[in-house]
């Protein structure tokens, strides 16, 4: 997206809970932000992205003049989590409802307020359009009026109404919520915004995400009465795999879901992720569709053959087996193959996104970047908090005593770090936790930096992502900011 923005193909951006001015190849990202017509930032603080036109290094150094930046920036102050009711969904697929604990100060509004108000305004804007492409907007149902008068005045939507829309209900009887995705029909008689969440709100007085019944200590602990997990409140996916092909637990200690021979059904601590009565002895029916095409021994029901794959001939851009390639930048040749890097890695070609050659003597060291427990991502939720900034107050670079000795760098000295993309400063933290490697007979030094800092906030420091490149993995574009080459000099 930022590569397209940098090329001038994106005109506007809604930046909600993100801080791209400190993201990968940060200088390129800010250059891209300068090409926008408008930028809406919605966050707790006026962070680096909101102030990229005013306090970015290129502006304070005079390389770019603030008056030459045409981007119009709008800042929306946003409420914190405890100032709003709603659900958290974590990567374990668990939805947990939280209540509002305090009023947000001043004009701070929630994310739902923002999206609701934006939707209502856009709908109004397209109301008189006769263009076929605007039919979607004209037919959009967006009635989430809050039940409370005060909230309605403030423009807040009703969260239960939104949750109901996500859960699903009977089209001709909106008071009847859908109990689970098996009840959904493709004939228009039911409506559901997202099938995976269907069942979280099965009745108007039953918000299962708000449940708080923990399992007693010493029990297997599926915690089925705590919150709600999608889909169908299953806590472990593909849990039929916890039983052997005959349906018996692989291990007594780790038993989770098993086949009950007497009752002829799957049972266990968790909600079985399997058709309840499909026996382990079931044979696959040739030419059948869906679960009928799988034998009762195949637990991975979302896979075409119901099996887990080590050899993956399809579905991945790379594969079929894992192998080793060097990162996009490396001080050494790939010791395993002639092919240096993944032939299908994503690299966004741009003059502002250069890569160093293999073994470039100007950038001899391996850099890795990481996070600290005291800070969160680009810092908008931590670098403004004095209880956290006192624990990790300044940006640092960790290096081994061996490299520090070579470079005559003492602990806490200021150090300049450079890569083909940029140059930053940080304080040295000399530690034996880092060690030199010997690769192919050559000593290679590694250095490490946490990347939470930026030019706004209570605790400020240079942006480590000035050094990183826009390189992504071939399948899901996860960036390669964890490894690249750099140089280190005493400042």
């Amino acid at each position: 997206m930022f590569a397209a923005m940098h090329a001038g193909r994106v005109k506007g951006m809604l930046c909600i809970g993100q801080n791209p001015a400190t993201s990968l190849n940060a200088k390129l990202e800010r250059e891209a932000l300068r090409k926008l017509d408008w930028l809406v930032v919605k966050d707790n603080w006026i962070h680096e992205t909101a102030n990229f036109w005013k306090s970015a290094p290129e502006v304070t150094k005079g390389e770019v003049k603030a008056q030459d930046i045409k981007t119009e920036v709008f800042f929306f102050p946003v409420s914190q989590v405890a100032e709003d009711e709603g659900t958290y969904t974590n990567t374990q697929r668990l939805l947990q409802f939280h209540f509002k604990a305090a009023e947000a100060p001043g004009d701070c509004r929630s994310d739902t307020w923002f999206v609701y108000q934006l939707g209502k305004r856009l709908k109004k804007l397209y109301a008189d359009s006769t263009l076929p492409r605007d039919e979607g907007w004209k037919n959009l149902v967006f009635d989430y009026e809050h039940e409370g008068e005060n909230e309605r005045k403030k423009g807040d939507p009703s969260n239960p109404k939104i949750l109901k829309e996500i859960n699903g209900f009977a089209t001709d009887d909106p008071g009847r919520h859908m109990p689970g995705f098996a009840a959904l029909k493709d004939d228009g008689s039911t409506t559901c915004a997202s099938w995976i969440y269907c069942g979280v709100y099965p009745a108007p007085d039953k918000n299962l995400a708000a449940r708080r019944t923990a399992d007693p200590p010493g029990t297997p602990g599926a915690q089925l009465g705590w919150g709600w997990a999608w889909p169908s409140n299953r806590r472990v996916m593909y849990n039929r795999a916890s039983a052997d092909p005959d349906g018996k637990p692989w291990s007594e200690r780790k038993k989770w879901v098993w086949w009950d021979e007497e009752q002829k059904k799957w049972t266990g601590y968790d909600v079985p992720d399997y058709p309840a009565t499909k026996a382990p002895t079931d044979k696959a029916k040739p030419g059948a569709a869906g679960m009928d095409a799988l034998p009762g021994t195949a637990p991975f029901i979302m896979r075409p053959d119901g099996l887990g794959w080590l050899f993956v001939p399809s579905g991945l851009v790379d594969g079929p087996l894992p192998t080793h390639y060097e990162p996009a930048e490396s001080p050494v040749k790939n010791p395993l193959y002639e092919q240096q890097t993944s032939p299908v890695m994503k690299y966004w070609k741009d003059d502002a996104n250069p890569l160093a050659e293999v073994g470039d003597p100007k950038f001899p060291y391996v850099m890795t970047t990481y996070r600290l427990t005291e800070h969160y991502l680009a810092g908008a939720m931590s670098r403004w908090n004095p209880w956290l900034t006192e624990l990790q107050p300044e940006l640092f670079i960790e290096l081994s005593p061996e490299l520090a000795g070579e470079k005559k760098i003492a602990n806490l000295d200021w150090v300049t770090i450079s890569s083909p993309r940029g140059k930053i400063r940080a304080k040295a933290l000399v530690t034996r936790r880092l060690r030199p490697f010997t690769i192919d007979g050559k000593v290679v030094h590694q250095v490490g930096m946490p990347w939470h800092w930026g030019y706004e906030g209570l605790s400020r420091g240079d942006i480590v992502n000035e050094l990183t490149a826009l390189v992504g993995d071939p399948n899901v574009s996860i960036h390669e900011g964890k490894t690249f080459v750099c140089n280190v000099e005493k400042a």
Binding site: T389, L391, Q392, P393, F396, L429, T431, R432
Partner: protein, 262 residues
């Protein structure tokens, strides 16, 4: 009367996340170093540096990596007031601001503290310091207010690995001994308990499982009470008094016996 309560800190499972420090500050509403504008200490990940009037929990980071990096380890330990059974601070406090609570913990009552700092010098662990905002000496209260409300202290509640455990001293000692046995069995023979019996100041109501000498963690191996000097000090006082008396007798022995004044 409740049973004696305290902390058992198993340093082998501490991950150095400092959640205890933050939870402590949040519950007790303690200010930050220089309003949060602290400086990097250069000593591993420890920027708190020490226990003092505004840091009642302090996670220590001890890097033990030999030059060849073999068997390197990063010792982590969340330090706190030991709530000693024989508490030096309590002994020296001239105003009675420091009390022993019904939970056998040691608490400084800020409203009765006159800021004399005697307790700071009396603590063998360097736990107490002045809180610059309050102007009084302060330290961990073992969340006395939470205990009175039937809650566990903020730090142990926040600890994600159960490195900090709260409970009755008897229950904690039992659990800690089992853990030492488990560690010995699995090959970590250096594990031992510090302060879990009466040897150190009559017992520490916040005791530790360590895997190196106490000094490595900045703990004294044989801390002493300020009153240890009381007896010899008293004898010296008696002796001094007698000496002064004797000198007086000698000095003035001629007075009154000389020639009568004119």
């Amino acid at each position: 009367m409740p049973e004696p309560m305290g902390f058992y800190t198993d340093t082998t499972v501490c991950i150095g996340c400092k959640a205890c420090e933050v939870a402590c500050k949040e519950w007790n509403q303690l200010p930050s170093t220089n309003g949060g504008l602290n400086t990097l200490s250069g000593n591993s990940y420890d920027n708190t540096r020490r226990l003092d009037g505004i840091h009642w929990r302090h996670v220590k980071f001890i890097e033990q990596f030999p030059e060849d990096r073999r068997d390197g380890r990063w010792l982590l330990m969340s330090d706190v007031c030991k709530h000693c059974v024989q508490a030096g601070c309590l002994e020296v406090c001239p105003t009675g601001a420091i009390i022993r609570t019904e939970f056998d913990t040691v608490v400084i009552q800020s409203d009765a503290c006159n800021g004399c700092r005697d307790c700071i010098a009396a603590c063998p662990f360097g736990v107490i310091e002045m809180n610059p905002v309050a102007g009084t000496a302060q330290k961990c209260t073992l969340c006395y207010d939470r205990l009175q409300g039937g809650l566990e202290p903020a730090c142990s509640k926040a600890c994600p690995t159960q490195s900090i455990q709260f409970g009755t001293i008897n229950q904690l000692r039992d659990r800690a001994q089992k853990r030492v046995a488990q560690l010995h069995q699995s090959g970590e023979t250096r594990a031992y308990l510090y302060g879990a019996d009466e040897k150190i100041l009559g017992g520490l109501n916040s005791f530790y499982l360590l895997v190196d000498k106490p000094e490595v963690y900045g703990l004294p191996s044989d801390p002493k009470m300020p009153t240890r000097n009381l007896k010899p000090g008293a004898w010296f006082s008696v002796l001094g008094g007698m000496l002064v008396g004797l000198l007086g007798v000698i000095s003035f022995r001629n007075r009154g016996s000389g020639e009568p004044r004119p």
